[in-house]
Amino acid sequence: MNWFAKLQETFLEDNRYMWLVEGLGNTLLITLGALIIGVIIGAVIAITKYFCEGNKKLRIFNWLCDLYTTVIRGIPVTVLLLVFFYIIFVSVKDGVPVAIVAFGINSGAYMAELIRSGINAVDKGQMEAARSLGLSKGQAMAKIIFPQAIKNILPAIGNECIALLKETSVAGYVAVVDITKAATNIRNKTFDAVNPILLLALVYLVMVVAMTRLLAVLERRLRRSDGK
């Protein structure tokens, strides 16, 4: 049997390529969902820390944020996924939302550090100028500091997003059929190991390259809006 016929048998018989398409859908859904959750958690933590640092009364919030980042960063994301699926959300049978939450919470810890470094990189004079005009600390953060911080760290957020996409390949541990799991299913069904795995690798590679390109375009746009 030649290679072409083999491909046909592996992917076209029983419309098995559709498994991959559906798996890809889940992979993208989990990545996007987790990214949104991650950015929101990260922003909340970074901003909380910004306002609470050095304030004795609010120290407890600072401490809670530190606890979160320490715990999350100390646990491998696969283990975190198992914890969420088999311990916290036992009653939820669909793995996709659980995976979104688990990857989102994981990503949030890294996003928090990123966004914090972005906020700290904004010149101190920006906050002073804003306050001297009468803006409150919150208004200054929302309109002056945060937009600049995000712009500064956009490349890093993009990298985090790419890492996240690749990390989701372990979602199969909790009964999610992402693209990796779909490829595994095809392999088990057809006893063709080589082609599903090669195709899987190719799909990830193409997605990552596409995301990298997209990011470069976005960065150039943003820079142009600064007139630089």
């Binding site: 010149d123 004079g125 920006q126 002073e128 100028a129 804003a130 306050r131 001297s132 005009l133 009468g134 803006l135 409150s136 208004q139 309109k143 002056i144 937009p147 600049q148 712009k151 809006s225 600064d226 007139g227 630089k228």
Partner: protein, 251 residues
């Protein structure tokens, strides 16, 4: 006794016993001064003498360690005072301009008045364009700060403060970061402002400006106002030795 050259209007800023320590260094050791409506006060002194610290205490960008700052009657060091509200009336211009780089010039000028509901977007824009025209930058409204020269940035920064219609303007060495050929254009704007009766406190190394524009000069040394007087008194007839040697160095 008040010198007759001093503005005699109501007191805009009253400073009493102002002290500021950083960790274990005492930078301001008790400063008392009244700044009247229409005053143009220049603050001079050696590098590190606390000029910036003094100015930044006036709008509480720096929290004083002791003493009081009264602005239009309200004690700004009182925790119950709405500081943000009072700051709207105290414009500040920084050595490093501190324009918002992610906003166009027009957005730089209108964001605070609109956000603080001082004006509708249309009113804020009209006001900004009028003031921009007066400093000769109307055609740069849609530019971004990075596209302007230092002198242009500082003129925009002055306009940004003016858009809030402040009662007093604080300047911290507004020309020190500029190339020499751009100093004049910024000083001209400030002179114009002084002529219109704006109350101003200006930290400066530009002795020519101090002499020509201000009606009072204060010399900070060792954390106190070591000498205070009209420009004529300070520059022609300095009393304390520290001021004499300072002037000998800078003039």
């Amino acid at each position: 006794m008040e010198n007759k050259n001093y503005a005699s209007g109501e007191v805009t800023i009253r400073v009493r016993g102002l002290k500021k320590d950083f960790a274990d260094v005492s930078v301001l050791k008790g400063i008392d001064i009244d700044i009247h409506k229409g005053d143009v006060v220049c603050v001079i002194g050696a590098s590190g003498s606390g000029k910036s610290t003094f100015l930044r205490c006036l709008n509480l960008l720096e929290q004083p360690t002791g003493g009081s700052i009264y602005f239009e009657g309200a004690d700004l060091t009182d925790k119950k005072v709405d500081l943000n509200l009072h700051r709207q009336k105290m414009g500040m211009v920084f050595q490093q301009f501190n324009l918002f780089p992610h906003m166009s010039i027009l957005e730089n000028l209108t964001c605070a008045p609109v956000m603080l509901k001082k004006a509708t977007p249309e009113q804020a824009k009209a006001k900004a364009m009028e003031l921009l025209a007066r400093v000769g930058l109307a055609d740069r409204a849609d530019s971004y700060p990075s596209q302007l020269s230092g002198g242009q940035k500082q003129r925009v920064a002055i306009v940004r403060a003016l858009c809030m219609e402040p009662d007093v303007m604080l300047f911290d060495e507004p020309t020190s970061a500029l190339d020499p050929e751009m100093v004049g254009e910024v000083l001209d704007v400030m002179k114009e402002l002084a002529k219109e009766g704006m109350t101003m406190v200006v930290v400066t190394h530009e002795m020519g400006f101090a002499r020509e524009v201000s009606n009072r000069v204060i010399f900070l040394d060792d954390g106190v106002i070591a000498e205070e007087g009209t420009p004529a008194e300070i520059f022609e007839n300095p009393q304390c030795e520290r001021l004499q040697s300072f002037l000998a160095k800078v003039l």
